[in-house]
């Protein structure tokens, strides 16, 4: 298939599948809480409803930035989805590499926070600065993991990294990256920026209707893309087999992550930062193994 076409398929898949994945996670969590839980398509229903509803702008807000935020956030994750191979192995791989991917996800967070600040809501401000604090701490851990994986694979382009060579450093790096996928997905206990009972969903407090829908979709796509990169690191083959293994692994991963999420309380920001600061050691180990050639 032509890369353009396959990219299109991938983007459509990501957009369609990301809310479904969230629905599955909600279902899993509900079952663990001895509830029946919402239908798996619930996140889709929510999203459709949100997209049908009008959005409100707080009167004290900085309109342009407030409107821009969800649009840029979603564009950046969608852009990332064009060059990360998801359902189909071929994509616009030459558009970006792992660094570009990391930056685009950070860009989404950045604009989430800027949107929060633009709404001038005190809770949004608190949530936004927490979001960025966490972003910094995440990058601290992630940077070492990325360096380790880069050394291990001998490059940062996806052509070199997907799949990773079978080495000790790759194994450590992938495991550490899996933890970062959990953290970056803003899951409990790392959801300090959008803590509902504390700061009323933080940066999202003033977003409504469509703009909220875009923000939610951004979050879903972001989680899916993180899973995708993780899976790409390890899936060694291509073709139909790859696609089916990929989808199956996505479902399993999201169920496992949701199950983890059901058994945590929320961290304080400082606790989350401290955890990530210490977790950088794992990235360092990965890097060290890679430099030693293992």
């Amino acid at each position: 298939m032509m890369p353009e076409l396959s990219t299109l398929v991938n983007v459509v898949f990501v957009v369609l599948f990301a809310p479904l994945l969230d629905g599955i996670e909600r279902k899993v969590k509900a079952r663990l809480q001895t509830r029946q839980g919402p239908p798996v398509l619930q996140s889709w229903y929510d999203l459709i409803k949100l997209l049908k509803r009008p959005s409100v702008e707080p009167s004290g807000s900085f309109g342009w930035l407030f409107r821009l935020a969800p649009a840029v956030a979603l564009s950046s994750v969608l852009l990332a989805s064009t060059f990360v191979p998801s359902l189909l192995a071929r994509s616009m791989g030459f558009w970006g590499d792992l660094i570009a991917f990391v930056y685009l996800l950070a860009l989404a967070s950045l604009f989430l926070a800027l949107g929060g600040f633009a709404s001038c809501n005190p809770y949004a401000q608190i949530g936004s600065h927490r979001e960025i604090s966490l972003l910094m701490a995440e990058e601290f851990s992630l940077a070492f993991i990325v360096a380790g994986l880069a050394v291990s694979a001998g490059g940062l382009a996806f052509s070199a990294m997907f799949p990773l060579p079978l080495k000790a450093s790759s194994v450590v790096g992938v495991l550490a990256f899996a933890v970062m996928v959990y953290v970056s997905g803003a899951r409990v206990p790392f959801d300090v920026a959008e803590a509902e009972p504390e700061i009323v969903e933080g940066p999202l407090i003033e977003f409504s209707g469509r703009s909220l829908g875009l923000m939610k979709l951004t979050a879903y796509v972001r989680r899916l893309l993180l899973f995708t990169v993780l899976l790409n690191f390890v899936i060694p083959f291509g073709g139909v087999l790859r696609s089916s293994v990929y989808v199956a692994a996505l479902l399993v991963l999201s169920a496992v992550y949701a199950a983890f999420e059901a058994y945590f309380g929320r961290f304080r920001t400082a606790d989350a930062v401290r955890f990530l600061k210490r977790f950088a050691a794992a990235g360092f180990v990965c890097w060290l193994l890679a430099v030693l050639g293992w």
Binding site: I126, V200, G265
Partner: protein
């Protein structure tokens, strides 16, 4: 067969204005603390206003009631706030609602009524019709940022913050993610209940009104009210009724504590905990529905006894449900206690030192978590508690975790109490309706609500009515400690700290309070200014 459990529960002393300060000081030095106070418009009787101060002497198992009066034309009595800080709000409340002035009160500002309530109109005076509506509906409290400077941030918490499903307003001053101060504005749930009771309600309707003080711990309010009237009228209550009352009070405690555990888990971001606790709690709700016909606001208490009896079949079913509830609660609590991260979020957070706790006069689990051994059920036995065997858990951690653990222990004590009650339930009548209501007799009833000591004062009014009824909920005493607990804590911990006293604002707000972390109350000036600005 019957008995009044409340004999010698209180002593009313008429004091002269000159000696009241001295008496209060002596009582205070004797280890007593201020329980509650009320102003009464006694003009139709004797042309005077009266103030009743109830002071709890747990060591002697007695409440001392100091009664002060003042003539109609000069309604002014000396304030006891300079001697006993705990009296501040009660006096201001009396000032606000009845129009009694307190000499030498440090801060006799408006307390309960909205800011746009006209001056000189006192709802609890007998010449004020309970249903008169006052003009003006503009807002009052708002983000004032009184103690704000360029390096601090005012964070409004409420009235519609998801933390509390009740309309209350805290204003936190936050600097670098730490809380440096907190203000509180209550009153949102002031529904004019006391006035309603003395104007439109009959004696035996008020228990139902009292239940609606609070949807969580309503039974304890109606029980306290009934005890107060029974005390005033000298009603003999049948033993079986007392046991059933205790039963419902304990069922209520279990449901309230399980509810709190769930909410605490939710506030700590552990939603699974919330779900599991509430699943366990559902059995307790079933028990309540089984016994009383309603899941809450049981409507079980009446003056002289209770409304519904318990059959043997119901007892068996209850025991079965109790087993389920206890088993599941224990499982969930064991799991939660095993979660290190969750416990770490409670440990050392929201510390209220024993000294502060004593000075403020906190009650219930908050006091017991700060090492104060107090429990109305033991100190002033009522209902069937004199016959029952239970322990009063006391922890010395002074933090949120201790409050959590106190409630854990209490929950399981309550399971055992319910079992004891069901096993030892005496036979006999469930209500004594053969009593006559004296005129202008004072009565006081107190119970240990899930949140702490709950005090009701009643002046009977003959004609099947009350002349004056004044309830005081435990949150009233516990709230002033919250700013102290909040100071210096991470802003992320504010919800769990506020929740750690298990605040029940609707209980408190029929009267309500104001507290500012600084001790100052800052409503009037800037507030009206703010209202003006909003209008423009």
């Amino acid at each position: 067969m019957g008995r009044s459990t409340l004999e010698g529960r209180f002593r009313v002393i008429d004091v002269s204005p000159d000696e009241v300060a001295e008496v209060v000081r002596e009582l205070f030095e004797d280890g007593c603390y201020y329980a509650t106070g009320m102003g009464v418009d006694e003009r139709p009787l004797n042309g005077r206003f009266a103030v009743y101060h109830a002071i709890n002497c747990p060591k002697r198992g007695v409440y001392v009631i100091l009664r002060l009066t003042a003539p109609e034309n000069r309604p002014s009595v000396p304030s006891i706030t300079p001697v006993l800080r705990g009296a501040e709000w009660a006096e201001r409340e009396a000032h606000d609602m009845v129009g009694v002035t307190f000499e030498n009160h440090p801060n006799l500002e408006r307390l309960i009524l909205p800011e746009d309530w006209p001056d000189g109109v006192y709802p609890l005076r007998k010449d004020f019709p309970y249903n008169r509506k006052m003009a003006g509906t503009e807002g009052t409290a708002g983000v004032r940022g009184e103690r704000h400077d360029e390096a601090t941030m005012s964070v409004p918490l409420g009235p519609y913050h998801p933390l509390l499903h009740e309309p209350e307003y805290f204003e936190l001053y936050v600097r670098e993610d730490r809380i440096v101060g907190a203000d509180y504005r209550g009153f949102h749930v002031h529904r004019g209940m006391e006035k309603l009771a003395e104007s439109r309600m009959t004696l035996n309707q008020i228990p139902f009104l009292a239940e609606r003080i609070c949807g969580i711990c309503g039974c304890t309010h109606s029980a306290a009210y009934c005890q107060a009237v029974e005390e005033a009228a000298g009603v003999e209550v049948p033993e079986r009724a007392l046991y059933i009352r205790s039963l419902m009070l304990e069922v209520e405690r279990i449901h309230s504590h399980l509810l709190w555990f769930g909410v605490a888990c939710h506030l700590l971001g552990f939603d699974s905990g919330f779900m599991h606790f509430w699943r366990a709690r559902e059995y307790v709700m079933d028990i309540a529905e089984l016994i009383t016909g309603n899941r809450k606001t049981y409507g079980i208490n009446l003056v002289g006894g209770v409304r519904r009896d318990l059959s043997g079949e119901k007892i068996q079913k209850t025991l079965k449900l109790l087993e389920l509830a206890e088993g599941e609660s224990r499982e969930v609590i064991d799991n939660v206690v095993g979660m290190k991260e969750l416990i770490a979020r409670m440990e050392g957070v929201g510390v209220l030192r024993r000294k502060d706790a004593r000075e403020i006069g906190v009650v219930g689990p908050v006091a017991r978590a700060s090492g104060i051994d107090t429990d109305v059920r033991r100190d002033h036995p009522y209902a069937a508690y004199g016959d029952l065997d239970f322990k009063v858990p006391v922890y010395r951690g002074c933090d949120v975790l201790s409050r959590f653990l106190v409630r854990v222990d209490e929950t399981f004590e309550s399971f055992s109490l319910v079992r004891q009650i069901l096993e030892n339930l005496p036979d006999g009548e469930i209500i004594n309706e053969e009593y006559s209501l004296p005129y202008m007799e004072f009565g006081l009833g107190s119970t240990e609500a899930p949140r702490g000591e709950d005090v009701h004062m009643v002046l009977t009014g003959g004609e099947n009515q009350v002349y004056r009824w004044h309830p005081r909920a435990p949150t009233y005493n516990n709230l002033p400690a919250v700013p102290l607990m909040l100071e210096g804590e991470d802003v992320a911990d504010a919800p769990i700290i506020i929740a750690s006293i298990d605040p029940c604002f609707s209980c408190t707000d029929h009267v309500s309070i104001v507290d500012a972390g600084s001790g100052r109350v800052l409503w009037r000036g800037p507030l009206l200014e703010g209202v003006e600005r909003l209008r423009r």
